[in-house]
């Protein structure tokens, strides 16, 4: 690790060096040597002037040298009187001569002496570097330079910033410059300037703005501007609370989406068909392992693997589900408690099968690069992209299922069979076939949920058990037989969980949510949105 970092540093250093050398033109070379000699001879007091002159002559070169000095990498050879860049000043290490780029090996450590600087120079150099950054080509660089400068009150520098602000065209950079100026103006003697600064800061979302205002309030509590400043602080705090709320909501929605995804397959098998499928969690697990296998099969196309895994997991879990229904569950219709036991037995078998095939250890499923990343909305709020995808995926699956249940022939038949099996059969619906297909559909959706969950948690033999109770809670809370209920229940439980977390901790929040559901079922045994009509009677 250390070795790697050293090596990386070396490459970076060499990169800088090449840039420096590239800037050395024929005419520039003489100038460089003149500056170089002056710097080597100079005392502390003179270095300031020399570097200022150098900065005026060739900004980029001077900045690079200043950065080297700040990093204690600038040395000179005592006899040659030449500047060297030395990362490691020990015998046998490499030193790069700046004037011609030649690399030499250090034979005597004592030949090289560091160009020393003091704290005053350090501050000065940082300001120079920041100033140079303000004029950089890329807007991001300019913003970064401005952010580094916040809190600086040096009048010359501020004049420069103000000048640059007037020419700046990029809105983001403009606001970054405004922040710098406002923080500086807060200290000015002119009350109207101070007031303007407070107003600017009150609109900013940068943490630095809040700090500056707080500092101002602490040092001038009696000033006439104090009420305005404290109002600005309140307004910022209000915004922070608001954006924290938005973030919690976002986290809650993404957790809720996970719950909905885990529960929605069960909403069909348990909710619509009334089968207590304790192996539901294992069907999710099968979906996750399908993702793992797909990634093994196409190691060079991780980005595509998830898109392949979704249909694959649907098919695999769906087939396992159909097998289950045909082999075991159909003999137990109308005996819910026995179904519960038998499917639990199946869940044990599936867990052990996975353990025997893939080993009991957790398997890691890779996250494609397009899934990761941050969407920065403002300085207080940035949203992780993977959560965004989960929410979108959850909604997609939900509406697809809803469409299948409400708009297709299969959905019609499923509802007919679940409402009145005999009547449906009399109308020519092949109820056995519908049972198998419905169960396969629910199981397949569980498999798809497994693909999504493989991106969030460990894929292991026990992952199914972790979700089974949550899934049942979501379905029962939402109201059995109601897909919309499942969606609302999952999302609201997710949000409730995340709202409780800050003051209760993750585990306690989960316990509280469970207790809430237990109590809720007492009040409304049929969930949030109970089914109405004859189907609800049995």
């Amino acid at each position: 690790m250390l070795y790697l970092r050293l090596k990386k540093g070396l490459y970076l250093g060499m990169g800088c060096l090449l840039m420096l050398l590239a800037s050395l033109t024929q005419a520039g070379e003489a100038e460089f040597i003149a500056h170089e000699q002056a710097l080597i001879k100079a005392k502390f007091e003179q270095k300031e002037q020399i570097m200022a002159a150098w900065y005026a002559a060739d900004t980029q070169q001077a900045v690079e040298l200043m950065e080297m000095m700040l990093a204690s990498q600038l040395y000179y050879h005592k006899k040659e009187k030449r500047l060297y860049k030395v990362i490691d000043a020990s015998k046998g290490a490499v030193a790069d001569r700046l004037s011609d780029g030649e690399s030499v090996t250090i034979t005597k450590k004592r030949d090289f002496k560091r160009v020393s600087i003091n704290n005053y120079l350090r501050t000065l150099f940082r300001q120079y570097i920041a100033k140079a950054g303000l004029t950089a080509a890329e807007p991001e660089q300019r913003i970064a330079a401005a952010e580094a400068m916040v809190g600086n009150t040096d009048p010359d520098l501020m004049a420069t910033v103000a000048g640059l602000r007037a020419q700046e065209t990029n809105a983001d950079v403009q606001s970054a410059f405004d922040l710098v100026l406002a923080v500086a103006n807060l200290q000015s003697a002119d009350a109207s300037q101070q007031q303007a600064a407070i107003e600017t800061l009150g609109d900013s979302l940068q943490p630095a703005a809040l700090n500056a205002l707080k500092q101002f309030l602490a040092s001038n509590p009696e000033s006439d501007l104090a009420p305005i400043a404290s109002k600005a602080v309140d307004s910022i705090n209000g915004k922070i609370d608001f954006y924290n709320g938005v973030e919690t909501l976002y986290f809650g929605l993404s957790l809720g989406s996970v719950l909905v995804l885990a529960g929605i397959g069960l909403a069909i098998t348990f909710g619509v068909m009334g089968v207590i499928n304790m192996a539901h969690g294992e069907l999710i697990m099968i979906g996750a392992y399908t993702t793992y296998v797909i990634q093994l099969l196409m190691p060079n196309h991780i980005g595509w693997s998830l898109l392949v895994a979704v249909p694959a997991a649907f098919v695999v879990s769906g087939l396992v589900g159909i097998l289950l229904e045909r082999g075991v569950i159909r003999f137990l219709y109308g005996r819910p408690l026995e179904t519960l036991l038998a499917t639990f037995g199946i869940s044990l078998i599936l867990q052990q099968a996975v353990r025997s095939i893939f080993s009991p250890l957790n398997r890691s499923v890779e996250t494609p690069s397009w899934m990761s990343g941050l969407i920065e909305i403002n300085p207080l709020l940035s949203l992780t992209q993977s959560r965004m995808y989960i929410i979108a995926f959850c909604l997609l699956i939900f509406f697809l299922l809803l469409a299948i249940m409400k708009r297709t022939r299969l959905g019609l038949q499923v509802r007919a069979v679940s409402q009145n099996r005999n009547m449906a059969r009399a109308m020519g619906v092949r109820s056995e076939w519908v049972d198998a297909l419905t169960f396969g559909l629910g199981s397949g959706v569980a498999g798809i949920a497994g693909v999504a969950l493989s991106q969030l948690t460990n894929v292991g033999p026990n992952m199914g058990q972790a979700y089974i109770i949550d899934s049942f809670m979501v379905v029962v809370f939402g109201g059995v037989g109601n897909l919309w209920g499942t969606l609302v229940a999952g999302l609201s439980l997710g949000v409730a969980n995340k709202l409780l977390e800050p003051w209760a901790g993750a585990v306690l929040a989960k316990i509280l949510v469970l207790i809430f559901i237990i109590l809720f079922i007492q009040k409304r045994p049929r969930g949030l949105f109970p089914q109405r009509g004859r189907a609800a009677e049995d």
């Binding site: 207590i276 075991v328 003999f331 137990l332 819910p336 408690l337 026995e338 179904t339 519960l340 036991l341 038998a342 639990f344 037995g345 199946i346 869940s347 044990l348 078998i349 867990q351 052990q352 099968a353 353990r355 025997s356 058990q465 109770i469 049942f472 809670m473 029962v476 585990v507 306690l508 989960k510 316990i511 469970l514 207790i515 559901i517 237990i518 109590l519 079922i521 007492q522 009040k523 045994p525």
Partner: protein, 358 residues
């Protein structure tokens, strides 16, 4: 007592063999080790453990077999009883712990706690621990049942919320802040009532205590089920609405049977802990409760002795398989679930009974 077992051949066999075991086991244990009839002490502890699990199974059979409530949370009552006993055993360690603190159990010293939490006070008294062993599961079952039965939560919904209850308890007990040792639970016990837990005599004593508890528990359940109240219990199972319209207070019947069963489970847990030497939050995990239901299903519902038979058979098989063929065990257990529900709805004892009729 004889009248209780009048119609109960299985019960007679069970109690007879338990009494025989109480007499024989200490004698066989005292035989020289070279003798082929010698029973080593560790087998006695294992047997004692099976008996406590059998008591748990009897408690579940009372609720599931006779009352028709499929409880998936009974292991929680068992574990709570176990924790109460574990707290007593923990206090008996005194200053013999790793940190040698006479006032605080090791894990509290480790967590830098300064004083004993209020709910640990008094647990150095055996009588208080015994009361708590029954009171804590009893109160939890009473409150839970009161809420659930009054609002007529039944069937699968009840099963799921009992499961949620034990799951929530498991998460809670995993937390260090709860003051029950977190992940590791309570362990390193030294002695009970002044007798060292390592000694053979104590182990035999615990075995006998477990056997007696099982006999008493069995007889109590039998007394309940054969009484007039017991017929009402079965009536609730077979036709809840009808029983209600005939004037029975269905909620009260359910509540009292459920609470009694939870107390029984708590006692079983309290006897279990000193014999295995540890209690940790895993005992709350939902799968444990479901396993108990399977013991009952395999043995045969609503027979009581079937529950004992199922518990001992499956736990013996589990001890055997997890050592000899660990990979096979879950396949076997899972297969058993499926086969019993599909092919043997009345369990092993049902099979025997049918033969008898033929």
């Amino acid at each position: 007592m004889i009248r209780l077992l009048d119609q109960d051949r299985g019960g007679k066999w069970l109690i007879g063999s338990l009494l025989l075991a109480i007499v024989l086991v200490p004698i066989l244990n005292s035989l020289p080790e070279s003798s082929s009839l010698h029973i080593p002490t560790y087998s006695i502890s294992l047997l004692g453990k099976y008996l406590t699990l059998a008591l748990l199974a009897v408690a579940v059979d009372l609720v599931w077999g006779y009352l028709g409530i499929l409880t998936l949370g009974h292991a929680a009552f068992f574990a709570l009883g176990g924790y109460a006993m574990g707290m007593y055993l923990m206090r008996q360690i005194g200053d013999r712990g790793v940190y040698g603190n006479p006032d605080l159990p090791d894990f509290m010293v480790f967590l830098n706690w300064q004083e004993l939490p209020w709910f640990w006070h008094g647990f150095d008294q055996f009588w208080l621990a015994v009361i708590m062993v029954m009171l804590v599961p009893g109160i939890l079952a009473f409150v839970f049942g009161f809420l659930a039965f009054r609002s007529r939560v039944s069937g699968v919904y009840l099963s799921i919320i009992t499961q949620a209850m034990t799951f929530a308890l498991m998460l809670a007990f995993y937390r260090n802040e709860m003051g029950f040792g977190g992940n590791n639970g309570l362990t390193d016990f030294k002695d009970i009532l002044g007798f060292s837990l390592q000694s053979d005599q104590t182990k035999i004593g615990l075995f006998i205590a477990s056997a007696i508890a099982l006999i008493l528990g069995y007889l109590l359940c039998r007394a309940i089920t054969t009484s007039r109240a017991g017929r009402a219990v079965v009536a609730v199972r077979d036709g809840e609405s009808r029983a209600r319209f005939m004037g029975y207070r269905v909620e009260n019947i359910k509540l009292w049977v459920f609470t009694f069963s939870a107390v029984l489970a708590g006692v079983a847990g309290a006897l279990y802990v000193p014999q295995v030497g540890i209690i940790n939050p895993n005992e709350f995990s939902p799968i444990n409760s479901i396993e108990v239901v399977v013991w009952v299903a395999v043995g045969g519902r609503a027979t009581l002795y079937g529950a004992v038979l199922g518990a001992i058979l499956i736990n013996y098989a589990k001890s055997y398989f997890t050592v000899e063929l660990p990979d096979i065990w879950l396949f076997a257990l899972g297969g058993l679930f499926v086969l019993v529900t599909l092919l043997l709805p009345r369990g092993v004892t049902g099979l025997l009974k049918r033969k008898e009729v033929e």
